[in-house]
């Protein structure tokens, strides 16, 4: 057993799953700000604080996931693959979706930091990219995640994804009714 190789592999898997969990929480709290889904849990200010705080959790986890995969000799992910998607010789689509997700998240983060210099409409359109990023990240996890092959982990992932879908649908319906 090669200890360092195994450690990198374990780290890549655990940080990948944990960052997806934090991202799911972030998306859920973000949607709940408008829909009041978590009104039973906390007031809107609290939900907003958690939504912002979750970036502190998933950014380091996502970075750790990417860095661990760069050092993993089996994954064979290069620096160029972090920028240009679908370049990895195996699992082209699955890993490419991870790259796209990471890039979209960077766009969302930068737009959030530049919020004061953007109009509300511009910021909203940039922020809506987080839905696409979430779908890409989830598909990346399902298509390439070693641990999502386990039925228990997979069922948990699908249940949470379904929760995000329900809350998002609820938000869309409310917007339509309000319009």
């Amino acid at each position: 057993m090669n200890l360092s190789t195994d450690l990198i592999w374990i780290l890549a898997r655990s940080t990948g799953t944990a960052s997806l969990v934090a991202l799911i929480l972030s998306v859920l709290t973000g949607i709940a700000l408008r829909t009041g889904t978590f009104a039973w849990l906390s007031h809107n200010r609290g939900v907003r604080v958690v939504h912002g705080f979750l970036t502190v959790l998933w950014i380091p986890l996502g970075l750790a996931h990417v860095i661990a995969l760069l050092f993993d000799r089996y994954a064979q992910v290069g620096l160029i693959d972090l920028v240009i998607p679908f370049g990895v010789p195996y699992g082209r689509l699955a890993i490419g979706l991870g790259t796209i997700s990471a890039e979209l998240i960077v766009v969302v983060l930068v737009s959030t930091w530049m919020r004061s210099s953007l109009t509300l409409g511009q910021w909203q359109w940039f922020h809506r990219l987080s839905y696409v990023a979430f779908v890409a990240a989830f598909a990346h996890g399902v298509m390439s995640g070693t641990d999502l092959a386990n039925p228990l982990v997979a069922s948990l992932a699908w249940v949470t994804a379904a929760a995000v879908a329900v809350v998002a649908l609820r938000r869309v319906m409310r917007t339509r009714i309000a319009a």
């Binding site: 898997r13 958690v50 070693t146």
Partner: protein, 92 residues
């Protein structure tokens, strides 16, 4: 009697408690997955099998079917009869 709708109080009002809850969920998943991944290093049913591993462990090709028939070797031994040689001497 007219009853005005009363707004129910949320479960958690402290933002610190909410942050602790979010951290706990994330860190529990991190810890849990670390333990799970260390106990299950290789998943044969994983959707992706790295190319390096695939190259290192070649897929088992069906071995050529060799019909091994039991070969019976019959050793033909020379039966030697160890009879005492009878020498006849011609007597004149």
């Amino acid at each position: 009697m007219d009853r005005s709708p009363r707004k129910s109080n949320p479960l958690i009002t402290s933002t610190l408690a909410l942050r602790v809850l979010a951290s706990a969920i994330t860190l529990t998943s991190l810890g849990g997955m670390t333990i799970f991944a260390s106990e299950n290093l290789h998943a044969s049913n994983a959707p992706l099998q790295p190319a390096a591993v695939a190259a290192a462990t070649p897929t088992p090709t069906p071995a050529p079917t060799t019909v091994t028939t039991r070969r019976t070797t019959t050793r033909q031994s020379v039966t030697s009869t160890s009879t005492t040689a009878i020498t006849h001497t011609k007597q004149s």
